[in-house]
């Protein structure tokens, strides 16, 4: 993101203050909202027992990621 207004206090070349870099919440919100929802859906898909919520029918996804679930610490049996 280009900063149109640069801080006039740091012309000496001491570097910009970290607070000059803040990305406004308005700009961040849609990325975060979608990112959080997407992360949760993938987590459910990988970690679920595919029994409580079964899309699609069967145990194929459950069996396919079986070892990853055990070793990444998600509950399994």
């Amino acid at each position: 993101m280009a900063h149109a207004i640069s801080s006039p206090t740091s012309i000496s070349g001491a570097g910009s203050a970290p607070s000059d870099l803040v990305i406004p919440a308005r700009e961040l919100a849609p990325w975060l909202a979608f990112g959080a929802l997407f992360a949760m859906s993938v987590l459910v898909l990988i970690s679920s027992a595919q029994g409580a919520i079964t899309i699609p029918e069967g145990t194929a996804i459950h069996e396919w990621v079986h070892d990853g679930r055990h070793l990444l610490g998600f509950p399994c049996h």
Binding site: I23, L28, S47, A49, L71
Partner: protein, 262 residues
């Protein structure tokens, strides 16, 4: 430095982390999974009415003959699917959260604030939930309680993640009120208190039975190493990438200011 840059760099770091987690899980973890399944099958052969017998309604079977996915696939492609998917998702999310943290975490520079975000992610998302509900090998845990255990695990995970967000808010307010060190202590105390209370309030899960303690330890160490490898690579790779972007950004800014001052 834009949100887009952070997301792209987070996804790249996450992909690398997924590969690292697969390597650790395959080399350190798979031998323990195989040993646990061998025990499970030996127990299943002696006890005909065991919950992991051939009745598919009671849970899944680890036998090759009737399995939907063979063990060879589970331990290679299946494992890689899991670690890569989780790696990319956590890497991307860590990247976005590092964008939020940019310039908002006291006087920390981009590299330091990014590293802190990754550290908080590792502690709140993996290490603390592991301490309350540690990973269990195959043969431990019944198919009848899996829904309940999943709900407890993700409930505690949600408390831990929300607690770390609250702790950061408290730390920022306390830093403004007092100064750096008391602020950080207030934030850490907030997280610790919430998580300890939650850990005491959440029920205990103990379905170990007579599972061998040595194998359980080896499995849990392997599982923790997998998670730590995942987060270490997310943190290290993302920090390096963000720092490089910031240096380029700062060099451009310095040149502009020099030109403006002439």
């Amino acid at each position: 430095m834009s949100t887009r840059t952070f997301l792209v760099q987070g996804l790249v770091a996450g992909l690398l982390a997924g590969i690292a987690a697969f390597v650790v899980a395959y080399t350190v973890g798979e031998p323990q999974v195989d040993r646990a399944i061998a025990l499970e099958e030996a127990a299943g052969a002696t006890a005909a009415d065991h919950e992991h017998s051939d009745d598919p309604a009671a849970g899944h079977s680890h036998d090759d003959e009737d399995a939907v996915v063979t063990r060879a696939t589970q331990s290679t492609l299946g494992l890689a699917t899991g670690t890569l998917a989780i790696g990319v998702v956590l890497g991307g999310l860590t990247g976005l959260l590092a964008a939020v943290g940019l310039g908002r975490l006291g006087g920390l520079r981009p590299a330091a604030s990014t590293a802190l975000v990754a550290l908080l992610g590792a502690v709140s998302f993996s290490v603390v939930p592991f301490l309350k509900y540690p990973a269990t090998p195959p043969a431990v845990g019944s198919g009848e309680t899996i829904d309940n255990r999943t709900a407890l695990y993700f409930g505690f995970l949600a408390v831990s993640v929300l607690a770390v967000l609250a702790a950061v808010a408290v730390a920022r307010a306390a830093v403004r009120l007092w100064s750096g060190v008391p602020g950080v202590v207030a934030g850490a105390a907030t997280y610790a208190v919430i998580v300890v209370v939650a850990a005491l309030a959440f029920p205990k899960v103990d379905e170990l039975g007579d599972f061998p303690a040595g194998l359980l330890w080896d499995f849990r160490v392997a599982s923790l190493l997998t998670l730590l490898a995942l987060w270490a690579v997310i943190g290290a790779a993302l920090t390096v990438l963000v720092d490089r972007t910031w240096r380029q950004h700062d060099a451009v800014r310095a040149r502009r200011e020099l030109a403006a001052s002439l």
